[in-house]
Amino acid sequence: MIPVGFEYARPDSVDGALALLAEHGEDATVLAGGHSLLPVMKLRLAAPELIIDIGRLTELSHIDVDGDEVVIGAGARHRAVESSELLAAECPLLPAVARTVGDPQVRHRGTIGGSLAHADPASDLPAAVLAIGGSVVLRGPQGTRTVPITEFYTGMFSTVKEPNELITEIRVPRTGGAGWAYEKFVRRANDWAIVGVAVVDNRVGLVNMCATPLRATATEEALAAGASIADAAALAAEGTDPSEDLTATREYRRHLARVLTERALTTANA
């Protein structure tokens, strides 16, 4: 119900946060929106000794165009992404997906960087960014590096981000008029997706079909080879490794992946 005690720091810059991370190593955890971290700490499943609060760093909250990409500060709240006119024009899948994350209160706090860093396979945004095909900008003591999103996720709740690094930006291509859709299958509006399918420009990102978000590559290849949407969607579960829980069996998830992929592709190509 309430976390184990910890120390708290609120640096006034990204570099300040990095310095603290370098100093404290694994004893420290970064806090942005707090809606992945704090629930876990309240259940005492995590007990960091130091919390580094970067939630108010304005240098992380921008949404701008940069050439043929849109650059989103890692600290941009879901609400900002959801309501961004710029993204609605340049990369409309992303605000549509952000609108489905949690509820309005969660979206006022949660950040896109936090969501990607947390790497919950049931999260919406990681799979959406995967479908869009962007990249993640990381900064650490060694400097800045940009990792394509296709290489970012390594396993359940794990990414290539080192503990002493921060995500500073997410870069997404301007997808222009490319057809897009997001299908999120839930029991209740506020639930995690049982299965989700994000489509943009006939690239398909799957939510909760594996330990990480993944692309439905068999479907994409079939489409590229001229298959019908129905035939391509029938392959959507290939290469996936869905889990079993109270809401779904593995077979049911595979079935949903196929059904939702067909629907998302139909919408996107309408």
Partner: protein, 753 residues
């Protein structure tokens, strides 16, 4: 101008909507200054022997004043519900054994609440696991016993000695049998359980507790503590919902009192939601086998229901409820032969109790499912088959095969009204169109006709009405509202007689020192007992006032009339206000009303559901309901009760389920995992009005609080099955989750090959 039947906004709300109500955890009473905070350490295992408890490290933690285990609690364990089998006793903190995940094993008392969680983590308990008992049939086999002293897992039963008649269905051309699960539910009031207590110098406990029944809770706690009831002063602050799960007292209340006396300091306890999801009484949890038989014209000739009910680990009020299931088994139908039986068994799970409907939703859901299966088997419209078998309106009072005496009912009228309001013929036409088009979104229509018993078991209630010299009024009631709006409704009833506006009438409840006796609020009893008592008391006060005024005004009582809070001589200016009378002599009446019998509200619900046959997802599109509980006192409040019940009824059909794994681990013990609906999962509701009075009280009123759960659940379940019946599906257990619906469609398709 009569206030009865008018829409009056609530007296409670200005405070509730500004500084907020005061729930038990909000209290800042002086008597609770310096209170210790209680944190309970609870068992992570469903069934185990406790081999050691080490509290030394916990005792050293910051802010810890005491850490106690079962051995430290000098209080005899108790059988918490008298009807249970002997030997099924609960210790206040588990001593040798734990029997459900969440059972309290140690008590940590700290100066500040946060410290309690830290210290609780330091308590080390060793367990020797035992096999869990979760499946009801396995429990009934007595292979693994929860209570060696009891020698059985059967807590109690109803009708167990009566043999079923193997010829019951001999004259039935058509017989259908179905096993049905009426699944375990969590009550989920938004306020979890809370209690605070202090042991006074006057050697009395003052106990503040979130309960639906102040006097019952006081008596239970006093009994458990081994003291006289007069030694416990129980005060009910505002209560954030109960739904039956807060009936009476929980064992933690006695523990809080005992700890307060033991430490000499007040003790406060407020559980987390996770604790609540394993610690609070849960509802339903019946395994039912129904058999229905009749002829091909649609006459039902015989019905049987065999119930195996789950008591959870320690028998509580839940073990009584199958009695109501049996009583209400034939429901609204005039069936010549009815048999029923119920066995209640303990399992290594959370104890069961009353949850909105408490035994009656189970009965209705079972027979409504049976009627649908029978109708499907003979190929007739389910609404027509129901109508054919309903108890005719001229047969009331009607004594049923379940032993109930139904006071009044217009079942066919309710059914036809709801079919008309919903546009049944158009709905069937739309369903046919969609089936022909073969698209993914199919339409399902489900109908239920129901009757339910309200006010059962406790027909009398007290009230007192007093007019003060300043013109305000105090009403004391033995009922115990927790959202129902009695402060407004009872004020209306008093206002009707007194002519004093509702805003000047204060209704008090829930304080056992202030209110000598009361039964509380449960089973939809309050209006027909407590409300009528208030109405009666106000009427008696007016009669008393007239007598006093007659002397004062030198007039005959027959020439006097009461209006706007004054007694006046008709046709003259001569009058005296009730306030003035109260100035001369206290003006108060204490009254008691005893209706002598329960009443039987009834209704019909029609649910329209859309099912995506590709994914199995079902959504309620519309629900049209009649919930006839006699004359409506305040439509605002009555509709609110219907809405809440309908929402919970839909939730049982579509979404909610408490799940345990085979080891007795609860899998739905948080609000994230338990599918409690939000506004986004529900439609708005169409309420149709119908008022059929009862002769049991002068207002003709019955109880409306639980009707929604009883009518809505079977209507929605029926609609979901109906939506996919053309694919060969005959039955889907609740909740009809997307996975269940998809599985049923596949199974039907598989068996069709």
């Amino acid at each position: 101008m009569s206030i009865m039947g008018t829409r009056v906004v609530r007296n409670e709300d200005p405070v509730f909507l500004s500084r907020g109500a005061t729930y038990t955890d909000d209290l800042t009473d002086d008597r609770l200054t310096g209170a210790l905070h209680l944190t309970l350490v609870r068992s992570p295992l469903a069934h185990a022997r406790i081999t050691s408890v080490d509290v030394e490290e916990a005792r050293q933690a910051p802010g810890v004043v005491a850490v106690l285990t079962g051995a430290d609690i000098d209080l005899a364990p108790a059988k918490l519900f008298p009807m249970a089998a002997d030997g099924m006793v609960r210790h206040w903190l588990a001593t040798d054994k734990v029997r459900f995940v969440g059972e309290p094993v140690a008590a940590v008392l700290t100066e500040q609440p946060y410290q309690g969680q830290d210290a609780a983590d330091l308590v080390e308990i060793d367990y020797d696991p035992l096999p869990a008992v979760v499946d009801l049939r396995a429990a009934a086999s007595d292979e693994v016993l929860l209570f060696d002293e009891a020698g059985t897992n059967t807590s109690n039963g109803f009708g167990l000695d009566e043999e079923f008649d193997e010829h019951l269905f001999d004259d039935c051309a058509v017989v259908v049998t179905q096993e049905i699960v009426n699944q375990r539910l969590a009550a989920c009031p938004l306020e979890t359980r809370a209690a605070s207590a202090v042991w006074g110098e006057d050697e009395r406990f003052t106990l503040w507790a979130s309960t639906q029944n102040a006097h019952m809770a006081r008596d239970e706690v006093a009994g458990w503590l081994g003291v006289d009831a007069s030694a416990v002063h129980l005060i009910t602050p505002d209560v954030g919902g109960g739904f039956g799960a807060k009936i009476g007292a929980d064992p933690e209340f006695a523990l809080v009192c005992w700890l307060a006396r033991h430490t000499g300091r007040p003790v406060r306890w407020n559980e987390t939601r996770s604790e609540n999801m394993t610690g609070m009484l849960q509802g339903r949890a019946q395994l039912q086998t129904v058999t229905i038989g009749g002829n091909r014209d649609g006459d039902v000739l015989a019905y049987r229901i065999d119930v195996l009910a789950d008591a959870g680990a320690y028998p509580r009020i839940g073990i009584l409820l199958p009695m109501f299931t049996r009583m209400m088994a034939p429901a609204v139908y005039d069936i010549p032969k009815v048999e029923s039986r119920a066995r209640v068994v303990v399992t290594t799970t959370t104890s069961t109790g009353a949850y909105r409907g408490a035994g009656r939703p189970e009965a209705t859901a079972a027979i409504e499912r049976a009627m649908d299966l029978f109708a499907a088997e003979i190929g007739k419209d389910p609404a027509d088959v129901r109508r054919r078998n309903l108890i005719a309106p001229d047969k009331f009072p009607f004594t049923t095969k379940g032993g109930a005496v139904y006071d009044s009912g217009e079942y066919a009228k309710a059914l036809d009204a709801v079919l008309e309001a919903a546009g049944y013929a158009e709905l069937r036409a739309e369903q046919a169109r969609r089936r022909e088009q073969g698209g993914p979104i199919q339409l399902g229509i489900g109908v239920s006709v129901f009757v339910e018993i309200t006010g059962g078991g406790a027909f009398a209630e007290d009230a007192s009405v007093e007019v003060h010299p300043d013109g305000t009024v105090t009403v004391l009631t033995g009922t115990s509202p927790h959202g129902q709006g009695h402060a407004t409704a009872w004020a209306m009833l008093a206002s009707e007689h007194l002519g004093i506006p509702v805003e000047k009438i204060t209704v008090k409840h829930g304080d056992t020192d202030l209110i000598p006796s009361g039964v509380g609020t449960m089973g939809s009893r309050s209006l027909q007992t407590g409300g009528v008592a208030v109405y009666q008391a106000a009427g008696e006060l007016v009669a008393l006032a007239k007598q006093r005024a007659a002397d004062l005004l030198e007039a005959s009582v027959d020439d006097l009339e009461v209006a706007d809070g004054a007694v006046g001589v008709r046709g003259t200016e001569s009058a005296v206000t009730l306030a003035q009378l109260a100035e001369r002599e206290p003006l108060r009446v204490d009254s008691n009303f005893d209706s002598g019998a329960p009443s039987f509200p009834f209704g019909a619900h029609l649910a329209v559901v859309e099912v995506d046959v590709e994914s199995g997802k079902a959504v309620v599109d519309r629900i049209v309901t009649i919930d006839d509980a006699g004359p409506v006192l305040n439509p605002l409040l009555a509709h609110g009760q219907r809405h809440g019940g309908i929402a919970q009824g839909i939730a049982q059909a579509l979404l909610e389920e408490v799940v345990y794994d085979a080891d007795g681990n609860p899998l739905t013990a948080t609000f994230a995992d338990y599918a409690f609906p939000s506004a986004a999962e529900l439609p708005s509701f169409t309420l149709v009005e119908m008022e059929t009075p009862t002769h049991l009280n002068p207002l003709g009123v019955k109880g409306v609080g639980e009707a929604g759960t009883i009518g809505a659940t079977p209507a929605v379940q029926s609609a979901v099955v109906d939506a996919v019946s053309h694919l060969g599906v005959r039955h889907i257990d609740m909740p009809t989750s997307p996975l269940r619906v998809w599985t049923a469609i596949n199974a039907a398709a598989g068996s069709a090959k």
